[in-house]
Symmetry: C2
Subunit: 327 residues, 2 copies
Amino acid sequence: MTASRQIHLVRRPQGVPVAEDFAVVGVDTPDAGEGQVQVQNLLMSVDPYMRPRLTADQPLDAAMLGGGIGRVVQSRNDRFKEGDLVRHGAGMQELFVSDGKGLQTLNPDPALSLSVYMHALGGTGITAYGGLLETGALKDGEQVFVSTAGGAVGSVVAQIAKIKGCYVVGSTGTDDKAAWLKDEVGLDAVINYKSQPLSAALKAATPKGIDVYFENVGGAHLDAALARMNLRGRIAVCGMISTYNGGGEGVRNLSNMIYSRIRMEGFVASDFPHLQVQFVEDMTGWLKAGRVKYQETILDGFERAPEGLIGLFSGLNNGKMLIRVAD
Amino acid sequence: MTASRQIHLVRRPQGVPVAEDFAVVGVDTPDAGEGQVQVQNLLMSVDPYMRPRLTADQPLDAAMLGGGIGRVVQSRNDRFKEGDLVRHGAGMQELFVSDGKGLQTLNPDPALSLSVYMHALGGTGITAYGGLLETGALKDGEQVFVSTAGGAVGSVVAQIAKIKGCYVVGSTGTDDKAAWLKDEVGLDAVINYKSQPLSAALKAATPKGIDVYFENVGGAHLDAALARMNLRGRIAVCGMISTYNGGGEGVRNLSNMIYSRIRMEGFVASDFPHLQVQFVEDMTGWLKAGRVKYQETILDGFERAPEGLIGLFSGLNNGKMLIRVAD
């Protein structure tokens, strides 16, 4: 038995989550029983997809959902030995016991930071890869628009599209991110949607229209994109962060879908197990060659997970937001 | 040279079209020259798809776009003889001259009314057939929702779905149409969206959710359907009549597309030439067996075409709206 902590949801957020919706709760974590492991969390992920689940299926007064990377500290399970690194979906717990189901042993490439296995080589990476190439059915050299292109998913989408020879426009909400996307990542055009009129800027930035729109935002972003979609364009719907906290404008340009025969389709990271091997091979190569760059915002301290999650909605993060629990 | 008439658009409608947006204009139609035919219009179609084009590509002070059935009255073209019936897209003209391109000779089944070649066996029929079976990828026995199920497209969609063993819910805007759909067509549930709260009624009528939504309306209809879509549901976007005249609410439930992996896709009648032979065979059989029923609203008199088109937006029609120009 070891004293540890969990992050609990203690009430359902109204609109943007606030600190008081969460609590850091002390618990006693049991030792590993027969067939079990005890895992210490090292890195935890906070992601926009969590917001709708706070209103839906996240139980109150229980450990928050979420994924992370941990280290096996006790093992009574033949599949794992002490010291193994594992990727897990065990939620926001400093320490937890598992029968091994849902734990994936990691053998990280020594040339890469462990944290990339939480984003470019993790859930956000396969989301970008599968959503763009399979749901979006991207063809080399097409015209691509990516919303929240400075985010963990969007920045990978934009770079895969560049690797595939596409003309790529990204939107983002800060000048810092815009500069990184233009100067470091090499996008063809970047729109700061907070300081520029989105529809006019997108029109100017997409003289050949849009073949694939990778949708992370919804609302006005979707309306602006719909007005620029080419015949048989695809909209891969990964997220609609502008709508998760309520409010926002309804979408009005959907009738453009008819004559332009636009296909819009939702997907989630777990839709692409059949792409996993190719994804890891491609992405490891791109990262090591510097062809996919990334940013991370890492908050130190388990108790800062709510702050990190809340910060996603105010643009606190540059790239992937992570919580460092231990080294 | 023969005196005849055309319907012109004389100004672009603001919102719902009004009579003053159109004019009936006298013209002299030349005789058929070498390689040409002169065609007398018999039946003309007015359709919701025309509305967006009044704002877009319909020229002012020229014959209105549109399709119809005519009779060849002069022929100097080997492909046609006098008396042939032809389906055409020559627009709203009493009499016109053509080189034969775009004219399709009709050999109507003597057991069927000629008018069905303007709807169930015409453009609205192939729209329903292709949109439901190909774009909607309907599988036998699925849960189907059809908006404007009393209309020319919707009523055919609903009946094909019933033939395919599906549970079918339709929405319509009048009690007359609702009664026809329930009693004559045999839908499983019918919602009058003008007298019932749409979302609550749709929820009650779809206890097993919706696998395919055939979309003719947009706005609140789409929001209500999105809230009921099953995993990997399809939304075949045929029209969004509620949005064509401006106004209306924006759509707010699009984020449901993500976790339910919904696919929404636009299409038009001309997308399905590869289905044409099978369509004619299936639909002729269904009509002759009474398995596809239809309603028509036929206005007598060429000059009533604007009235017919305007009436589409107030529910003047039961089923397909046609203009009878001559017998």
